[in-house]
């Protein structure tokens, strides 16, 4: 998922920073080395916490002063009381979790809003790859052989919109990114990465 990670890490900060209000309580799921948490703390004065499963990344995050603990995303969420956070962020792993809808519901129990970013499987390059090669898409956005991919629940912009509708969640913001710019028209075709801000 290196490409999406790069995309998110380079541009997402400005994006998420634009969305998240100063002094918010934020929980970052799969926070990696805590770079986003540190950014939120330094630039937005947020009370930012994070959970990460990878020990080495947890060590890095704590070493940079972030309140990060080693643990499983689903169990960590279930421990928290209702409304513990203003925002719960899931910035790149929705398509990799075992029970995405359970996770999303928990995010909206624990947080007033959730910020969800994911690579868009509806992007034209993915569609073209399948159409022209007949193989499972292997693109710069999804750079894996089918048997090596950590992405077990790939989704498109439309899929996420449909889920929000059926769960009766309100989408407050939609940010669609392609390359270094935002796109608005034909997002499901053109967006490489989608970031949604959703509340109940």
């Amino acid at each position: 998922m290196s490409t999406v990670r790069e995309v998110l890490e380079r541009r997402d900060y400005a994006t998420i920073g634009h969305i998240i209000e100063p002094k918010s309580r934020v929980l970052d799921l799969g926070c990696g080395d805590g770079a986003l948490l540190a950014w939120l703390k330094d630039n937005k004065d947020c009370d930012a916490r994070g959970v990460e499963i990878d020990r080495a990344l947890v060590q890095k995050a704590i070493a940079r002063g972030a309140s990060v603990y080693q643990g499983d995303m689903a169990q960590s969420l279930s421990d928290y009381p209702d409304g513990a956070f203003d925002y719960v962020i899931l910035s790149q792993t929705l398509q990799q979790v075992a029970n995405p809808v359970t996770i999303l519901r928990e995010m909206l129990r624990v947080g007033r809003r959730m910020v969800v970013g994911f690579p868009n499987f509806g992007h034209w390059s993915v569609r073209l790859s399948l159409l022209t090669t007949g193989h499972a898409p292997n693109t710069s956005l999804f750079p894996f052989k089918w048997y090596e991919s950590p992405n077990i629940h790939v989704l498109t912009v439309l899929d996420f919109e449909a889920l929000c509708a059926s769960e009766q969640w309100t989408v407050e913001h939609r940010i669609f990114l392609a390359g270094s710019s935002q796109v608005s028209a034909l997002a499901n075709l053109r967006a490489e990465v989608a970031v949604f801000v959703v509340r109940k």
Binding site: R55, Q59, I62, A63, A66, Y69, G71, P81
Partner: protein
């Protein structure tokens, strides 16, 4: 009253100081009058006294946590973590460590003289608890003139004290660092302590605890320490350190085997050595009282639940456990982390990879340094902002 800020500022050499208090009320209902506490300080207290860190020692530790002791010439028990540029950086922070109540290294304990009789307390010493130990530490911190500690940090039983600090005096601690510890002993942990106590009490020289004018129960205390050392290591660290290696021999043969129960294996002689060494520096009755205090410790007792207890805490938490620690296994730290989450408290946690078992908190310096330094730094920024 002495000017402690000035004393600490001037302290370049490491030596143990003693402070006396008129009375210490205990959980058991008794009052110790008077009570002494031995402590050391490293680094300078800043002008607004916001950079003080209390280090709480483990079961057999003492006040000499860092530096070279002026009298004994020995390095402190956590010297690799405390000092200029180290994890607990004495160029930035003022670090304080005191010997625990019930100990035998300067603080009042069963080997101290009971002023009522002029004799050592021995088994007339009142039962003590971890909250009692912390209460005495708090009196020392009050007297030094510190209203809020930057952090309380300790491993093993020191971690229990750090946890107790966080809920007993929540307004007095900005951060706590409990390492390789638990909020209460499991049956297995109590069981190992009981073996140690029984080894001491089974030694005829123990004499009901009144051995101070005679021979101490050295054999019992040494056996107790041998059991302890086994629990501090791991299967793999013992395999690496000793394996089945023999003393002064290549292999066991029928001709060469002693069958005299001398220390043939290296692990046997190591344990015997550590046992006998311990006898020279530790009091058997302190062993009994302190292990009992550990077994009694339950952060949730009288506070509803672990989560309800931790709800009182205002501090940030950094918990650290070690993958091969089977005496204080990672799940015990995780229980605390989960309880903190359920009350939405600020907690960082990492299970470090180590093969050293429980001893890892004294040996895994590099990785602990990275965590502690970053955590303290961000806490200090918040406190001083």
């Amino acid at each position: 009253m002495k000017d402690y800020a000035l004393m600490i500022a001037n302290a370049q050499m490491v030596e143990t100081q003693i402070e006396r208090f008129e009375a210490l009320p205990l959980d058991c209902g008794s009052v110790l009058t008077p009570v002494d506490i031995a402590f050391e300080t490293y680094g300078e207290l800043n002008a607004n006294r916001s950079n003080a860190i209390l280090i709480t020692h483990a079961f057999s530790g003492d006040a000499h946590a860092a530096g070279i002791h002026r009298v004994t010439g020995r390095p402190g028990w956590w010297d690799n973590m405390i000092g200029p540029g180290k994890a607990f950086d004495t160029d930035r922070y003022c670090v304080i460590c005191s010997n625990i109540l019930g100990g035998c290294a300067g603080t009042t304990g069963p080997s101290s003289i009971d002023p009522a009789t002029g004799q050592p307390f021995a088994m007339t010493f009142p039962v003590i608890t971890v909250p009692d130990i912390v209460r005495l530490q708090k009196m020392l911190i009050d007297r030094i003139g510190i209203t809020r500690l930057l952090a309380v940090a300790g491993g093993s039983m020191g971690g229990m004290q750090a946890l107790e600090w966080s809920v007993a005096y929540p307004e007095m601690v900005a951060a706590v660092i409990p390492i390789a510890t638990t909020h209460r002993h499991s049956a297995q942990q109590i069981a190992f302590n009981e073996v140690g106590r029984q080894a001491i009490m089974a030694d005829p020289d123990w004499s009901g605890g009144s051995y101070y004018l005679q021979r101490p129960p050295a054999r019992g205390l040494a056996v107790a320490r041998m059991v302890g050392h086994i629990t501090y290591m791991s299967d793999s660290s013992m395999k690496e350190k000793f394996g089945r290696r023999l003393n002064g021999r290549e292999a066991l043969t029928r001709e060469a085997a002693g069958f005299d129960f001398s220390a043939e294996f290296e692990v046997e002689s190591y344990l015997r050595y550590r046992g006998s060494q311990f006898v020279d520096r530790f009091d058997a009755n302190s062993y009994l009282y302190i292990t009992k205090a550990m077994d009694y410790f339950d952060l949730s007792a009288g506070r509803g639940s672990l989560a309800a207890a931790l709800e009182r805490a205002q501090a940030r938490f950094l918990l650290v456990s070690f993958s091969s620690d089977w005496l204080y296994p990672p799940y015990q730290s995780e229980e605390i982390v989960r309880a903190l989450r359920s009350r939405n408290r600020d907690v960082a946690y990492c299970e470090l990879s180590s093969q050293y078992g429980h001893d890892a908190f004294l040996l895994e310096v590099e990785e602990q340094t990275e965590l502690v330094r970053g955590f303290l730094n961000s806490t200090y920024q918040r406190v001083t902002r």
